[in-house]
C-alpha cells in the first residue's frame, strides 16, 4: 500500500496523461523466464530462440555484465527469410546510385583501401526490446530484454562514401537496402530512408565488429551503424544506397516502426494516436546482468551487482541501486565510458545479512537529467516500442 502511494507521487505527471483510465491497462516487467535453446546457430553461443526462420535470437540476462557484448552473444533479428551468404567478395558490391555525379560499385576491399577507417563503440537495440512488458500485449515478437548489445564497430563514414560518389545539388535523401530477401518477389525488402543533412560523422558502414568480421547472422559483410538510433535503421548486408531528391515511402518506415507523435509518445488501446512518427532515438535504460533472478546468495557474503546502462548519446551520469523497492537509492560505481553511445558498466557491492528474498533495482540517469521510470509507469504504445522501465532482480538470501 505504502509502495503504491510512493509510485503515485513520483510519477504523478505520467499518470496524469491517462487520467482515471490509467488502471485499465498496465505495464509490467518484461519476461525474464525464457531459457537459452540447446540448438546452436552459426557462430553463436546458446541463445533464446524466438524463431529459426527468419532467425530471431535474444541474449540472456547474464550477457549484460560487460560493456562490450561478445560477437557470439550478440542478438539476431532479421525480417526476411532468405539470407544469402556472400561467398565471393570480389562480386559483393555496395551500389551507390541516383542523384550522384558518379555511380559507384564498392567492394569491401575498396572500403578498406580507399577510405579513412573509423571506429565507433555503440549500443544496438531493437525498437521492440522488452516489448513483453506491455499490456495488452502489442503486435510483434514478445522480446524479453536481450534484444540489445554493444560492440566496437570499424568501418568508413557514410558521408565519405557519399562524397566520393559526389552528391548532386538535388540530393536530399538516401534509401538503404540490404541483400536479405523475401520469399514472394513482390514484397518490398527492408529498406530505410535517411535525410542526407542528418547523417552524422558517427554513422558508418561497418565491416568489423569487435575486431573481427561481422558475423553472418549480424549482417556480414557490411552493415550500417547509426549510434543512438534503434537498430531498425542499421541495415544488414548493405548492398544498395540510392540517393534521391524526394522521400521514398517504404512499409518499414511509413507503416511499421512508428510511434505516437505526442509528448509522452503514448496512446490508449481504444484510442490510438492519430499522428505518428518513425521510431528513432533510444531512451535512457539500464539492465542488471548479475545476479540473475532466483539465484541463491549466501547471507553475510559479498555480492557484487553488475550491469550496463546507456542512452541515445548524452552519456550516463549515474546509476542508482535500490534494495527497498525504490524508496531509497544509492549510487553505483560506474565503469569507464567507452563512448557516449556505449554500454556503461556499473557495479554495486553489498552484503545481504537478512535471509529471505531480496529485490535489487537499478535506475540510470543520463547527462540530460532523464531517468528511467518504474516499469508500471511506462505508458503504452501500439507497437510496444521504447520500453525503458527500471529493472529489478529478486534473489534468495540463504
Amino acid at each position: 500500500m505504502q509502495r503504491r502511494e510512493f509510485f503515485k507521487i513520483s510519477f504523478a505527471a505520467s499518470a496524469a496523461l491517462f487520467g482515471s483510465k490509467s488502471s485499465a491497462f498496465a505495464t509490467s516487467k518484461p519476461i525474464d523466464t525464457q531459457k537459452v535453446s540447446p540448438v546452436l546457430f552459426p557462430e553463436k553461443k546458446p541463445l533464446i530462440v524466438h524463431s529459426d526462420r527468419p532467425p530471431l535470437l535474444e541474449a540472456p540476462r547474464t550477457t549484460f555484465t560487460r560493456a562490450i557484448t561478445p560477437n557470439d552473444e550478440f542478438f539476431v533479428r532479421w525480417h526476411m527469410p532468405i539470407i544469402p551468404t556472400p561467398i565471393n567478395m570480389d562480386t559483393y558490391y555496395i551500389h551507390i546510385h541516383g542523384e550522384v555525379e558518379k555511380r559507384l560499385y564498392l567492394r569491401v576491399a575498396d572500403l578498406k583501401k580507399d577510405f579513412k577507417p573509423v571506429e565507433v563503440t555503440a549500443v544496438m537495440q531493437c525498437g521492440g526490446n522488452s516489448r513483453s512488458a506491455f499490456h495488452p500485449s502489442t503486435s510483434g515478437i514478445q522480446w524479453g530484454s536481450g534484444a540489445m548489445a554493444c560492440a566496437t564497430f570499424k568501418g568508413v563514414r557514410l558521408k565519405d562514401v557519399l562524397a566520393k560518389a559526389g552528391l548532386k545539388n538535388s540530393a536530399e535523401w538516401i534509401s538503404l537496402n540490404g541483400d536479405d530477401k523475401a520469399v514472394m518477389a513482390k514484397i518490398e525488402s527492408f529498406k530505410r530512408e535517411l535525410k542526407i543533412d542528418e547523417i552524422s560523422d558517427d554513422t558508418i558502414i561497418a565491416y568489423e565488429m569487435n575486431g573481427r568480421e561481422i558475423p553472418f547472422l549480424n549482417g556480414y559483410p557490411v552493415r550500417l551503424v547509426i549510434p543512438g538510433l534503434y537498430a531498425d535503421s542499421w541495415v544488414k548486408q548493405l548492398s544498395d544506397i540510392y540517393v534521391t531528391k524526394e522521400y521514398q515511402p517504404y512499409f518499414f518506415m511509413d507503416v511499421a516502426y512508428r510511434i505516437p507523435d505526442n509528448e509522452c509518445e503514448c496512446e490508449e488501446p481504444n484510442n490510438l494516436a492519430k499522428k505518428t512518427k518513425p521510431l528513432e532515438e533510444m531512451n535512457v535504460k539500464s539492465y542488471i546482468g548479475y545476479p540473475d533472478n532466483q539465484m541463491q546468495i549466501q547471507s553475510g557474503t559479498n555480492l557484487r551487482v553488475k550491469g550496463v546502462a546507456f542512452d541515445e548519446g548524452y552519456g550516463i551520469k549515474n546509476v542508482f541501486i535500490s534494495l527497498d523497492m525504490g524508496k531509497t537509492w544509492q549510487q553505483a560505481t560506474l565503469g569507464k565510458e567507452l563512448s557516449k553511445y556505449a554500454f556503461r558498466e556499473f557495479s554495486y557491492n553489498l552484503k545481504p545479512m537478512k535471509k529471505g528474498t531480496l529485490t535489487i533495482m537499478a535506475k540510470a540517469v543520463n547527462n540530460k537529467g532523464e531517468e528511467q521510470p518504474f516499469a508500471h509507469d511506462i505508458p503504452w504504445n501500439h507497437g510496444g516500442y521504447k520500453y525503458n522501465g527500471i529493472d529489478s532482480v529478486t534473489v534468495e538470501v540463504v
Binding site: 535453446s37 524463431s51 529459426d52 551468404t85 495488452p136 513482390k186 568480421e213 553472418f216 556480414y220
Partner: protein, 105 residues
C-alpha cells in the same frame, strides 16, 4: 613472374573469403496446436516464417489475429484466399486468443 602474381592474387582472394559455402541456419520445430485446420496454417504461413512468429505474439484478440492475417496477405503477399482468411483467423483465436473479440480494453 605472371604466374607468381596470379598465385599471390589467388592467395589474397582466398584469405579474404570468410565463408566458402552457404551458411546453414538450423531448423527448429515450433509446434502449434494440432487441429484439422492446421493445414491452412501449413499452406499459408510457412512460406516465409516459422511458427515461432505465431507463438511469440502473445495471446491476442480475434480482431488482432484477423488484422495479422490481412497484413500477411496484403503486405507480405501470402497466398491466403477468402476461405483460408476466415479459417486461419478462427484457428489463431481458438488457440492463441485472449478471449476478446475486439482489440483494446
Amino acid at each position: 613472374m605472371k604466374k607468381i602474381i596470379i598465385l599471390m592474387l589467388l592467395c589474397f582472394v582466398s584469405l579474404e573469403a570468410v565463408y566458402t559455402e552457404k551458411v546453414k541456419v538450423p531448423s527448429i520445430t515450433f509446434a502449434i496446436e494440432d487441429d484439422p485446420n492446421i493445414r491452412v496454417m501449413q499452406r499459408n504461413c510457412q512460406w516465409c516464417h516459422s511458427y515461432g512468429y505465431i507463438l511469440n505474439q502473445g495471446r491476442q484478440s480475434k480482431e488482432f489475429w484477423h488484422k495479422i492475417v490481412l497484413k500477411m496477405r496484403d503486405v507480405y503477399h501470402a497466398p491466403i484466399n477468402a476461405r483460408d482468411e476466415k479459417i486461419a483467423t478462427e484457428y489463431l483465436y481458438k488457440y492463441y486468443g485472449n478471449g476478446r473479440e475486439k482489440e483494446g480494453y
